[in-house]
């Protein structure tokens, strides 16, 4: 038996609904239809009245989740695509994220963002929004890269008393499989060494972890051992694990599917430059998507974002520095 990343998300929601009567799911087409990606397949049947279709109103979806959380519920909001969360952005960053700081009222909501690109999806169904949310105090931003993390981090997200932006990657939904659901979980806030290596450190997250792993496999054949750090959550960001890896390798490349200005890759390099400058044997490097909207055609899309091939070229550059 095997389980996909998408099924893990569905199973985590089923378990959360089963174990906690305060949990409900609200989003477009999530009810009888089971969601645009089937992340809530059959849940409306299994949990009557707790998996609710919303109008196409992201602002009101998030606003009502905040109100329900104030009244003690633990809503899970499904954005149909991460891109559409911009319509609910005001409620997320100004209402949900400020509520606890301003009023000492906890706001336990989870907002699921089907994130990142897939071939043919184009500018408005492909975005990676994590850095945008991470800049706001009061939000936790999870970016699971594995089936195990998709399951356990979503369960943890529902238990956390603060708003969680859960960036699940659409490319991994059906591509990524595991043997079984995990029985143990790493806590959020801890990064994971996805592959050990001595020559260079690649820090990344979400779908890019798999491009980086494919790159490391390839370079290993040539005798280069690259260490891959999977951040798991970008906020909080586990600076210690990154620094420890850079201490072992002396070289750092950060990779992200998001756009280059600011963001996670810049943040990681800033922290290493400030706290681990003397651990570096060479100037660090960044690799991000190109500075254009996400293109529609697979030929363009495949070049717009980093891939195992372009990450390998970057690592070779890094090793020559």
């Amino acid at each position: 038996m095997s389980i996909t990343y998408l099924e893990a998300i569905r199973e985590a929601q089923a378990r959360a609904l089963a174990e906690d009567p305060r949990v409900y799911i609200y989003g477009q087409d999530v009810g009888a239809f089971g969601g645009a990606f089937k992340a809530t397949k059959n849940l409306a049947n299994e949990f009557p009245g707790r998996v609710l279709d919303s109008p196409i109103s992201e602002d009101a979806m998030v606003g009502s989740a905040i109100g329900a959380a104030i009244e003690g519920m633990r809503p899970i909001i499904e954005m149909q695509y991460a891109d559409f969360s911009t319509v609910g952005f005001n409620q997320i960053v100004n209402n949900a994220a400020t509520l606890y700081w301003r009023t000492e009222t906890k706001c336990p909501i989870v907002i699921r963002l089907p994130s990142g690109g897939t071939p043919g999806s184009g500018p408005f169904h492909s975005q990676s929004m994590e850095a945008l949310y991470a800049t706001y105090p009061g939000l936790i931003v999870m970016t699971p890269a594995t089936v195990e993390d998709a399951y356990s981090m979503l369960l943890e997200a529902v238990e956390i008393d603060d708003p969680v932006i859960f960036c699940e990657h659409k490319y991994l939904y059906n591509h990524l499989k595991a043997e079984a659901l995990p029985t143990e979980a790493m806590p959020t806030g801890k990064a994971r060494i996805a592959r050990a290596g001595r020559d260079a450190t690649v820090v990344t997250y979400s779908a890019m972890v798999h491009e980086a792993l494919a790159m490391a496999e390839e370079l290993a054949r040539e005798g280069t051992e690259v260490e891959i750090v999977d951040l798991r959550s970008i906020k909080p960001l586990d600076t210690d694990t990154v620094l420890a890896s850079v201490a072992r390798t002396g070289r750092l490349l950060t990779v992200g599917e998001a756009w280059p200005w600011g963001g996670v890759t810049a943040e990681v390099i800033a922290r290493v430059a400030c706290d681990g400058y003397n651990l570096l044997d060479a100037a660090p490097m960044r690799l991000n998507a190109k500075e254009t909207p996400v293109p529609f055609h697979p030929n363009l899309w495949g070049t717009h974002r980093p891939t195992a091939r372009t990450i390998a070229l970057a690592v070779k550059d890094l090793l020559r520095r």
Partner: protein
């Protein structure tokens, strides 16, 4: 369903009355006293602002007290209320203490916002009084969420009320939330105070329909025009009726009350853009003065009682200000600089607190 208030104006009220019914008389006088406390307290805040004793702005509800108090008095314990910037009367009537209001303006550490937010952004969400954000229309769906939760928990008999201005009706959040509340058939009362201006923008630049209450038809909800928002009896009647309808299961209610904002957007704004013609119109009449006149004309209270109430309000205000001024201010060295309740997940890297 769109209805226009049929209740006559104050000049014709004698026959129908608060005066002829002891319960209505009591309700009218209670409302009047909240309005008086609201007016006098906000005048005090405005004076403190001009004396440089208040951080940030002061935004007062002068002229809108009747609508505000009627909204709050239609609510019961356990209901949800989302006041906006001109709801001092409603806040007090809903149960906010004058001291907490004063503390927030004066930046006391002991106030509900502890110096982290100020003036009209105060609230106690767990006690049903939402703490507004500045983005208009945003609190409607939050109130809806509290109603959805109560329904899910099996509670009955509750409603929620949201206060809004004419400017707020132009936002996407307003549209999304009214449509959502209609789809969910929530017991929600949205009270729009059409005070003729959003900051300096006249309603002619704000909307193009004849009457904002007509929008209710488009949402499939019940709508009411409250044409004399400075008539306390009409406010109590129309808003109270809308609240009763919501509580009885008739779904969301939209009340649009017309009035003139008797002042600027905030105390920094002399509002020179408001015409004398509008100020002298019936819309521009002061609700507090009309209510007081009605009380005298109908002998609902004696002159001595009116004087005593005013003196009592002034005393409460002086005490609240004196208390709040003695209280500690927030201390940046003792402040808890973590925006999360889950402290272990805080990430303050680069903020000097790691």
């Amino acid at each position: 369903m769109l209805q226009t208030a049929s209740r006559p104006g104050p000049d014709k009220l004698a026959a129908t009355a608060p005066g002829s019914d002891p319960m209505m008389r009591e309700r009218y006088l209670t409302a009047y006293r909240w309005m008086l406390l609201a007016r006098l307290s906000e005048e005090k805040y405005a004076n403190l602002y001009r004396a440089g004793k208040i951080y940030g702005g002061v935004f007062i509800g002068k002229g809108q007290e009747a609508i505000s108090v009627a909204t709050a008095m239609a609510l019961h314990k356990g209901d949800t209320f989302a006041p906006l910037i001109r709801d001092q009367a409603g806040r007090l009537a809903f149960g906010e203490s004058l001291l907490d209001s004063t503390r927030t303006y004066l930046g006391s550490k002991l106030g509900p916002m502890r110096g982290r937010d100020g003036n009209v952004h105060r609230g106690k969400p767990r006690e049903g009084c939402m703490a507004m954000i500045s983005h208009l229309g945003a609190m409607i769906s939050v109130v809806s969420g509290t109603l959805i939760a109560k329904r899910a928990k099996g509670e009955t008999g509750f409603i929620g009320a949201v206060s809004l201005g004419d400017g707020g009706t132009s936002t996407g959040a307003f549209h999304e939330a009214l449509n959502q509340a209609a789809v969910e058939k929530l017991p929600l009362v949205v009270v729009v105070t059409n005070n003729q201006y959003a900051y300096s923008t006249p309603i002619s630049s704000q909307y193009a329909c004849e009457n904002l209450a007509e929008r209710a038809v488009g949402y499939g909800i019940e709508g009411y025009t409250l044409d004399r928002g400075n008539d306390l009896a009409q406010c109590l009647d129309v808003i109270g009726n809308a609240a009763d309808r919501a509580r009885a299961g008739h779904g969301p209610q939209l009340v649009v009350a017309s009035i003139l904002r008797l002042g600027g957007h905030g105390e920094h704004d002399p509002a020179e853009y408001v015409s004398d013609e509008l100020k002298l119109s019936k819309t521009g009449a002061d609700c507090l003065r009309l209510a007081e006149q009605f009380i005298r004309d109908e002998s609902l209270a004696t002159a001595a009682e009116l004087d005593r109430w005013r003196a009592n309000a002034v005393q409460q205000i002086e005490e609240a200000v004196a208390t709040a001024q003695r209280e500690p201010k927030p201390d940046p060295d003792k402040e808890d600089w973590c925006a999360l309740s889950t402290r272990r997940l805080g990430d303050g890297y680069g903020a000097g607190c790691h």
